[in-house]
Symmetry: C3
Subunit: 321 residues, 3 copies
């Protein structure tokens, strides 16, 4: 499904999903992101000057949209924001016609978030050849830029991926973050990858992806180097997959006490926004093992790197030197 994100030379044309990518491509993204960070901050660079980046958000998410908007502006691109309510087909224009119109206006990149699996892939198949598509989350499928910023953060704190034990904790079933992270961590070759959560929230047969399943949090956390907590969607509780936020926290909430079961230098990650006291205790969020805000920081540089790589402006820059 993700084959269309590579061009005929194997270069990244779109960024739709982690599944199926090679490790050297992931490493290139991480290295490029690192090169954009100078003295802990990202400086404004002209890599996308004159380019037009369009945020096409069919699901509301001020937070994710903002990180892409900031990344684009720090690359000196022009940015257009569209928040599209899919329930009202205002003026009846269909999606394909909308894309073709944006094509015709010589836009260069679409950042797409949609609640339907494969929405970004669909667009990548229908846009003009000069346009790159970035998947900013498609249903419960993938959220590949989140996975890359998570990989960046893990490498920043842990260096080599090979010896690591990583646990992803929470609602694995409905999480595109979990899915993209599982692919990325397998590709980058961590020693052991665990998913931890109640049976109702772990898809059957997920072991085929190369993960170990734990339904008990304490067992799942034992000796891990990296803990990736997932956001608990409150809707799940209404749908009877879960009893209550309180009960969930009793069994799967990450507390200071439980954190001690992990490796003493384990890092705690979370994609945000956080439900303090539901999936994670406030003291852990703000504690010394938390790298959650560092993830947010890294998100800007990683997204800048992905934008510059897919639009091919990095190589152009080198050529012009």
């Amino acid at each position: 499904m993700n084959a269309i994100q590579l061009d005929s030379k194997g270069c990244l044309k779109h960024f739709l999903g982690i599944e199926g990518l090679k490790s050297d491509l992931l490493i290139k993204i991480l290295d490029t992101a690192a090169s954009l960070i100078n003295n802990k901050a990202v400086k404004k660079v002209p890599l996308l000057r004159g380019k037009t980046v369009v945020n096409l958000f069919f699901e509301p998410s001020t937070r994710t949209r903002t990180t892409f908007e900031l990344a684009a502006k720090r690359l000196s691109a022009d940015v257009l924001n569209f928040n599209i309510n899919t329930s009202s087909s205002s003026k009846g224009e269909n999606l394909i016609d909308m894309l073709r119109n944006l094509d015709a206006m010589h836009c260069d990149m679409f950042i797409v978030r949609h609640n339907a699996v494969g929405a970004a892939h669909f667009m990548a198949q229908h846009v003009a050849p000069q346009i790159s598509i970035i998947n900013a989350g498609d249903g419960q499928h993938e959220h590949p830029t989140q996975a890359m910023l998570d990989m960046y953060t893990i490498r920043q704190y842990k260096g080599d991926f090979a010896p690591l034990r990583v646990a992803i904790v929470g609602d694995i079933r409905h999480s595109r973050v979990a899915r993209s992270n599982i692919h990325a961590l397998r590709i980058l070759g961590v020693s052991e990858l665990r998913v931890v959560g109640p049976k109702t929230l772990i898809p059957k047969g997920i072991e085929a992806l190369g993960v170990k399943v734990f339904n008990n949090l304490k067992s799942g956390l034992r000796d891990v180097d990296v803990i990736i907590m997932l956001r608990l969607q409150r809707e799940r509780m209404q749908s009877a997959l879960l009893p209550s936020a309180n009960e969930y926290f009793q069994s799967y909430g990450l507390t200071e006490e439980r954190l001690k079961i992990a490796h003493p230098e384990a890092i705690v990650m979370h994609p945000g926004p956080i439900n303090r006291g539901v999936e994670i205790d406030s003291s852990v969020v703000d504690g010394k093992r938390s790298v959650i805000l560092q993830q947010v920081s890294n998100g800007i540089a990683v997204r800048m790197a992905i934008m510059a790589i897919t639009l091919g402006t990095l190589s152009e820059q080198k050529e012009s030197h």
Copy 2:
């Protein structure tokens, strides 16, 4: 009514309507737009650097606003967007006070869309002398930038206007696009100009504008070089001016079959957004005679040209060389 758009030297100060303009001014706009297109794309230029362009949209239109926003950004202007709900007079500030405040903030250009005829003209009479107004559609009156991008597209495909037979098809009565295009095509001197549609949708006495009226689509399309389809507003059907979308398509929808009546090299245009299957068949929209997406592309360059001409930054540029 449009006299106020020219300054004392006959230069374009505002762009409010096509009616009454001279052909050399229209040609100047087309030539300027052509000069901004390089290798099929519009590059970012600094013609409006340091200028502030304000989108004042009293009617919602993401699509048209986007084309103006993109045009302004490609001219390196700063852009402010206001979507103003005219039904709620939030905080009770009146329109004149709002304009004066934007004047005082040293804004340079207002792009105005309003459902009232003459809204842009009214503003042009009330703003400070350094400000230029662009009419982005006033009620059922004019939509002059749409007409200019249509003229650009016709010239691109057909060269000289003089020998052309042009048909405008659909709801002539309620269409500001039709009105502006009729004026532009008369000024540029096409050989024959037809309007085609049901009697209820063609204003009485429109022949005075120099057009021939056809109530039968087949007769209207015979041997024409250019077909301009209009969007059918579904509201018209509720107001009893039209029976149903289906019945309308039977009589006035443009199909591949009917297109054969026109000149074999006729082009098909549409201002968008398209109601596929209502005023035009999908296969015609996507067919080889359609230049609809080229219209969208041209819209950016044409709007850039109009902005630069009205603000006088083109001549400044020349002088500074």
Copy 3:
């Protein structure tokens, strides 16, 4: 409360309130703003190039947000706009987490408007050290940038503050503009400062701030050099603090006739938006003593000055020469 806006060297780090500031700091802001105005207009300058300014508006105000957005863009900053509905805690993220995330994205400045007193102060105490906060209005407490543009306008027309008699007229009780202006005018040392309004709208004990209270408009206006009219919030009338708009205008509305009581060269100011015919007659708004639009113009330069001073980019610029 405002001590936290100064850094350890006494330089302005945040701009939260006028109360407690020294006159030389206010004069520095006015002088810096003057240096940004060239031939009556503000030119675009690169003082904040590469900086990210975030508008955090928890109260809707297109007007004030626009002036900050324009000021930031004329300083060449990148701007993000957030209109936050405090009643819906969408996705349940709390304010502190939101601030920390924006910190982590390396934003440089937050412009904060909130209906709670002290909101900007609270944020200033919780953001990362590199971030500056500007108070764009906190409840009924302060609106310090409005006061500074008012001071700029008074100095522009009257020169020295020392000999001036100033009257602030209207709803003193609920006005953050009044509060900030009273502090600024006392600090800059006007000869006499009056507040004028009905008893219900003047807080008890306000004389402690160094003002004289007048409940009669004619007495209050006698021989004053500057009249600062306040906007009357219509909500006040529903809350029984006031009888009716009409009756209010009879007693406290500024008319041409009443204006004659003031000094013949008195200027009339208003923070906008204006209720014509409620607190002020239309003919006075548009009359020759009105400097209301000049206030709006000055607002851009004054806000630019405050942004550049708090971010320390003015001194950097000098050093780099």
